[in-house]
Structure formats: C-alpha cells, structure tokens
Amino acid sequence: MKPTIVKILNIEEEAENVLTFTLDYPALNSRPGQFVMLWLPGVDMKPFSIASDDGKELKLSIFKVKKFTTALFEAKIGDKVGVTGPFGNPYSWKQGAHVLAVGGGYGSAPLAYLINEAKKDDCTFDLFIGARRKNLLLYSNKFPEEFTHIATDDGSEGHTGYVTEILEEKIKKLSSKDKKRAVVYVCGPELMEVAAAKVSQKYNIPSQISVERFMKCGFGVCGQCCIDDTGEPMCIQGPVLSGEHALSLPEFGKYHRTKAGAVEKY
C-alpha cells in the first residue's frame, strides 16, 4: 500500500470553494463510488471520492474545508501528491438501467463518474443536485439541462427546498416501465441520504447510498470507520451500501464517531 506519487496536471474552479484537480494517474482501475487517499507530506492524508478516471487521468473535485484542503488549494500545476487506493465498494448498475443520481452538497462528484460510466452500458439518467445556494451547486452545468434537476435552500436556483422533494416528484412522473429499471444513487449529507433512501423505499425502487465515516487507513485495518451494529468497516464494505442495509443500521443517520472514536450525534 505504498503511495503512488503523481503530478497535478490541471486545476480548475468548479464552484465556490471547489476545485477540480486532474492528476497524472494511468491505470488506477477505479470504479464509480470508490475513493482514494490523498497524501501531502507534512500535512495529512485524507479520503476523497473519485470524480473521474479515464485510465489516464484521475480527477478529484474538492471542497475547501480545513487544514488539508487549504494546503491542497495552494498547490500548483506540476506539484506532486501521493495517492493510495482505489478503495471501497463501488456503485453498481445493470445494462439499460435508469440512474436517479441524488447529490447533496459536494456529493455530486462520484455521481458524475457513475453517470458517465453507466451511460456506456446504455443507461439513462436524471441528476438531482441540492445545495444551500446557487454558487455552491456542484456540476449543475456538466450534463444536459433536461436531465439536471436543481434544488437550493434559499431558492436562488431551481426548486426552493430539499433535493429529495424533486427526486420524489420525478419518481411520481416516471412511467411504470422506467420505474422498473430505476435505481436511486445517493451521495451527500447523511440526513439527506436517509431521506433519499426512504423516498426510494416508499416507491419500491432500490437505492445505493455512499456512507462516509472517519477513515485512517482506507484498507480495513484501523477499525476507525466500523459502523454499528454490524462492525463493518465502511472503507471496505462501504462506502456504497444498499439503501435497505443502510436503513437497517442503528448508526445510519443517527450518529458517527470522531477522530478519537467517540460517538457524536447528528
């Protein structure tokens, strides 16, 4: 599990405080929903979901939060970073499925990768993006407008309210044929994920949820990301879980553990 040291090929602004880093990483062999650990020597090593991997270049869309991302945002094209992975259980789909991708906050990153890969298997899609306000929307212009559905808390773009509300409206309008081939894919804040999983359940549509927990190693040894009550490490058994399984976990949507391992309620 030696980090691969790669060069930053490009940096572009994606949304307010979100940069997309293109890394020179041939043959990463990742799948949508998986993540990598990014290492900046002397700073930290953190997990990031993969926004795109075409076999030549790896793209990560990263929101500036604290110390690590602040340091990363100071990096320049040509600088090197360390990468381990890909890790984790990916999203899965069947040929010709209808992908209902629901991203909250910065959760759209792995969903864009999912949509682009699933399209190769004749899948159709709708992308639902939710954010507090317009400037924070990630990937609102990446896919054709007719397939992109937006919700903001303040109504500065699209529907005023929750992204799960526009998901439910869309599901109601689906033909029975489309409903049968539909799968809901979710990545975002956990309470939004719970709501999306419940909406899917209500309409008997299977769902796949990306469940994030604090991770140290990424490969199932440190035990930091084990979820209650099954004890499954989310870096291996997750991050992608079936909605049904996620909803059956007493921890999901209720609490998580801190860096020290203490229980912290949502």
């Binding site: 002397g42 700073v43 035990g223 084990c226 004890g231 020290a260």
Partner: protein, 307 residues
C-alpha cells in the same frame, strides 16, 4: 480435537485473540472478529482522556511488514467502558481490556475505571513505541518503571479479581529482566510483544512516510523477533504468555505456542488475509493437529523447549 485454552482461569474457544490496536475500536467491530473466528478480543488501548492520535499517514502495509504510528487514539476510558459493556451484551467471548497512561498514577486511575467494566483480563500497554515525544521512552524499557506500573494496576484489579498481563517491548534489550520485574510486581502474565521501532522513507518525496516519522513494525518481519522474545521469557520466567507479533498463518500460531505462548495475538494479519484471518488461522491449526496427531492445543505450549 480440542482447541480450547484456559488462560488465567478464563476460557477461550481457541487461542487466537485480536491484538490491541487493530480493528478493536468499537463493540461491533470486536464482535465481528469473534463472528469471524477469533477466540477472544483485545480492545484498542484506552487512556483517561480522549486522544485523536497522530496525523495521517498513520499506517502503511507492504509485502512483509506493516508500519503504524496511530498515536494511541481512543475516546477515553469512560467511553471505552461503554463499548466493553456493549460487547459483553452482544456475545459471551472473553474480552481483554487495554490501558496506557503518562504516569504511574494515571495507569492506576485508568485501571480503577476499566475494572468497573466486565473485562476478563487487563493488559497494561507500557510498550507503545510511537509516543516518545509526549511520554518519553516506553516504561517497558526499564524494569523499575514496568514493575511500578504493574504494581499500581494490580492494586485496582485485585479488588475485582481481574488478572493482569503486561505488554512488553521487543525494543528492550533486557526483555527477560522486564518480564521478571513485572512478575515480581504481580503480573499474572505478559504479552510479548508490541511492535518494534521502524521507519519507511518515501523515495519520491524523500521524506518519512509516516507523519510521526518513526513507527512500529508488525507483520512477518516482526515474527522471528517475537518468537525469540516469547522463548526467552518462557525460559526465564515460567509465566503465562500472550504471544503476539507477526502471526499471519496457523503455522505461525503453532510456532508461537511451541515457543511458550498460551494465547496467540493476531493483528495486522488482517491486512494480508482480510478479517476472515481468524477462522483461517484456526482452521490451519486444526489441520496441523490432524497431521501431527495432536488431541489438544494446550499440550504443545512450550513444547519446543523440551526437545
């Protein structure tokens, strides 16, 4: 075929126990190790106050060794006790508590608290090699310090009839002296060994890989060092040993028992063989028993010393 081991009066279905520091953060993660074949578990070491541990990278795995400097992250003994209680509600397998501290008094205080929980045995971690800047050299390098801590912890455990195992360091040149000192101070057993100090340097960045720079080496590279430590302590002290260090197969576990281990700790083997490693090792041990007409695993403890 009998794989059961009675260790310090506690019954283990098999001698393979989850070593401290790997996976054992929560009740559910420890219960999962039992479901996957472990005979018992050791919780990740607890201290009086919560700790976030070192900054990542804190772990790295290679072909023949594993390196870590997690820095003793834990939610504090009061939160840890909740996980121990929960574990005991989830299953009946034995659980070994584990504590560390910055002073003799702190070890004593932490022991007082953890002894109120349903632990079967208490391991005293005086040998973590990765917190030198904060705590100084491990107590496990000095017979007097090791004895003082063991004695202090025993004051707490003896009120609850909880046996104690002091965890030794392979970095100590005089490990048998340390073990003897612990035994005289009241240790019922020793755990041999913790990780050995090591380092990996990333050649691209030309800097140590771990943020803590130095770490503890486990995995196959540690095994012969651990076998020798177990052998020496068994010879010198004639006391029960939890043999730990680099065990990744049934044959490794048998080797540890032949050297004198009664229980065998398994930790970073999870990196190479997955969490199913506990059952895999036990199955391989059973195969060894069949091949060598061994009826009970207990019969091979220390057997290499007599031949």
């Amino acid at each position: 075929m009998k794989t059961e081991i009675s260790f310090l009066g506690v019954k283990f279905d098999n001698p393979i126990v989850l070593a401290s520091g790997i996976l054992g953060v929560t009740a559910a993660s420890m219960k999962r190790c039992i479901d996957l074949g472990a005979g018992g578990v050791t919780i990740k070491s607890l201290s009086m106050e919560p700790r976030e541990g070192h900054v990542n990278p804190t772990m790295a795995g290679y072909d023949n060794y594993f390196l870590n400097a997690v820095g003793l992250s834990n939610p504090g003994v009061k939160e840890g006790v909740k996980e121990i209680i929960k574990f005991k509600k989830m299953c009946s397998a034995p659980i070994i508590g584990s504590i560390f501290g910055g002073s003799v008094e702190e070890f004593g205080e932490t022991a007082e608290i953890i002894c109120e929980s349903p632990i079967d045995i208490l391991e005293i971690n005086i040998s973590c090699p990765n917190v030198k800047e904060e705590f100084g050299s491990p107590y496990a390098y000095d017979p007097k310090a090791a004895a003082a801590i063991t004695k202090k912890v025993k004051e707490a455990t003896s009120k609850h009839n909880i046996p104690v195992s002091t965890k030794l360091s392979p970095n100590a040149w005089n490990i048998t002296e340390i073990a003897k000192a612990c035994k005289e101070a009241g240790a019922d057993a020793v755990t041999a060994v913790n990780t050995v100090s090591g380092m990996t340097i990333d050649t691209s960045f030309q800097t140590p890989l771990l943020t803590n720079k130095s770490g503890g080496v486990s995995g196959p590279a540690l095994k012969p060092i651990a076998v020798k430590a177990v052998w020496d302590v068994y010879d010198a002290c004639n006391m029960p040993i939890i043999a730990t260090g680099g065990v990744t197969s049934g044959d490794d576990a048998i080797e540890m028992m032949l050297a004198g281990g009664e229980l065998v700790g398994v930790g970073s083997a999870v990196f190479w063989r997955g969490p199913e490693v506990f059952k895999i090792i036990v199955d391989e041990m059973k195969q060894y028993m069949t091949n060598n007409n061994i009826d009970s695993l207990a019969s091979i403890i220390g057997k290499a010393h007599t031949s």
